[in-house]
Amino acid sequence: MTTTNDARTTATTGRGSGGGRAAATRIAALGRAELTLLLRNKTMLFTALLLPALVTFGMRGVVGQMGDGLGDVGLTVGTVLVPASVGFVLLFAVYSNLVGTYVVRREELVLKRLRTGSATDTEILVAAALPSVVISVVQCAVLLACGALVLDLEAPRRPDLLLLGLLLGTVTMAALAAFSAAFTSSAEAAQLTPMPLMLVSFAGSGLMIPLELFPDRIADICRLLPLTGPMELVRGGWTGSLGGADMLKALAVSVGWTALSVYAVRRWFRWDPRR
């Protein structure tokens, strides 16, 4: 189970003409154009490339002050911050940026125009997300490596869990971005609509305060949030501390959110600015 493998399955499941290779060609052509657009948009580049690192760096002092509290629940500054950086990447580079991308492309009638061609709906949505997703995956790798070096972490115990968490988190965030775009009517509004999920995730998905420090009942509710499952998988994959039952639960919640968000896109996504 790797990222490349999954991208290929997603591409071929559409009812596109010409099979998998043609689908890959179309996604590549659209993704390349999307990358060009991303590189020309300074706000998006800043959000994707700098914000996650800046926020992670800024959080270092805050998490440091939690001091003994972390040790009591078996955590260190590193095991909190490094996975949190992955969460920031997913929220800024994937979720927040993609809400804007989908809204702007729809309002510019690009999505409608693309649907007049041979690409399938899935291919169009995947291609629009591709540059952001690739940037976020590369960035996660860099942040994890740097963070580990700076914060003296050992190598991940279960890299497979870590990757799975990253993968499910990425798909869910991209799909939720497309879903949020359905309720966003302009580029300006796209600055606001991502806020609720971002704030809830900051507070409740263990990005700023580990769930272990929450009262049990509140922590249980927080474990149902869309980003919490992937974050637990990423952290558990790194520390190897996630028990069997907890792991299965985190996995189930993550897969559930991925399925639900993909369904929501199929059901509610709007291709046309009208209405």
């Binding site: 060609t25 154009a33 510019e108 007049t116 041979s118 209405r275």
Partner: protein, 321 residues
């Protein structure tokens, strides 16, 4: 490719926006169309008549509320993957990212078309955009954007071409060039369905046309057939000492001061009666002018009928720039 094969066919086509009842709006109310292979068919109507709503159903972008659409024998919405590679679609506006250059746009679009074999430069040259390739789409003029749209609709060498107001925003020269291109495509056997605000465009290009009003097709036929539904007009002035009352009774003449207008389906008969009378009576007809009805007259007459009022004044849209 037998002649007369139906390429586009709709029956009882309806499209509703919003809920049943007063809350919603039915933009297409039972449209039956049939376009044969190789035909150039124009869909006319004032703004809000339902042209674009109909076109989007034919293009397979939206699903009809009721009725059926067949394009090349398939349902263009459900069998999108089968129909798309054989059609070219030019939307009414926009559709390319403002920050990409012409070249990047073309490369992207051609990349999504596995069957597109024409070299990129040739595609752009065909619409006169070869020297604008490094310009961003946002910096193109309205007419240039339309030409880029058209070029992109053509990359797959479509059998069926949908053009939604293809020349809106173009200058006279650009319009002529586009007409020429459309004529060439038609000559090569492409079936073209276009909507337009310019009646001259329909008159020049269309084999057949339909005029829509309030979501329905009011009339279908060749431009000549549609025009023939309206009376021709004979106009002249009478000298001051000749009273209109002296005109032969057989002529359906209307007088306004010294200006006389005769509206008739039979121009030749009316003119013969008039000219023989003038010779016999030794009357000089001043500023004599006889002309057939124009498509514009036929269009306006239909558009002005009661109940046709939608959201735009009908009288201006036929000649809107």
């Amino acid at each position: 490719m037998d002649i007369g094969e139906t390429v586009i066919e709709t029956t009882g086509l309806r499209r509703r926006y919003g809920p049943e009842g007063d809350g919603g709006f039915e933009a297409v109310r039972g449209v039956d169309l049939r376009v044969a292979r190789g035909e150039l068919f124009a869909l006319l109507g004032v703004n809000g008549a339902g042209k674009t709503s109909t076109l989007e159903l034919l293009e397979g972008l939206e699903r009809p509320t009721a009725g059926t659409v067949r394009v090349l024998g398939h349902d263009p919405y459900r069998d999108r993957a089968l129909v798309r590679p054989r059609t070219g679609i030019m939307l009414q506006a926009g559709g390319f990212p403002a920050e990409l250059t012409v070249l990047e746009t073309a490369r992207m679009w051609i990349g999504t078309h596995p069957g597109a074999t024409r070299p990129l430069d040739e595609v752009l040259a065909a619409v006169g955009l070869a020297d604008r390739r490094r310009v961003r789409v946002k910096q193109l003029s309205g007419g240039e954007k339309r030409r880029l749209d058209l070029a992109m609709a053509l990359v797959g060498r479509p059998e069926v071409l949908f053009l939604d107001e293809p020349t809106t925003g173009m200058d006279a020269e650009g319009r002529q060039a586009t007409w020429e291109l459309v004529r060439e495509l038609r000559a090569a056997g492409t079936t073209v369905l276009l909507t337009t605000h310019y009646l001259e465009e329909a008159e020049q290009l269309a084999d057949r046309l339909a005029i829509m009003r309030a979501g329905r097709v009011e009339i279908t036929g060749s431009p000549a057939e549609v025009t023939a539904t309206r009376p021709a007009r004979v106009r002249f002035r009478l000298p001051d000492d000749v009273s209109p009352a002296r005109l032969p009774l057989a002529l359906p003449a209307a007088a306004e001061g010294d200006r006389i207008e005769i509206r008739t389906q039979d121009v030749q008969g009316a003119l013969t009666t008039l000219l023989l009378w003038a010779r016999d009576e030794r009357v000089e007809l001043l500023d004599l002018d006889a002309r057939s009805a124009t498509l514009e007259e036929a269009f306006l007459a239909l558009a002005r009928q009661d109940g046709g009022a939608t959201d735009e004044p009908a009288a201006t849209s036929g000649v809107a720039a």
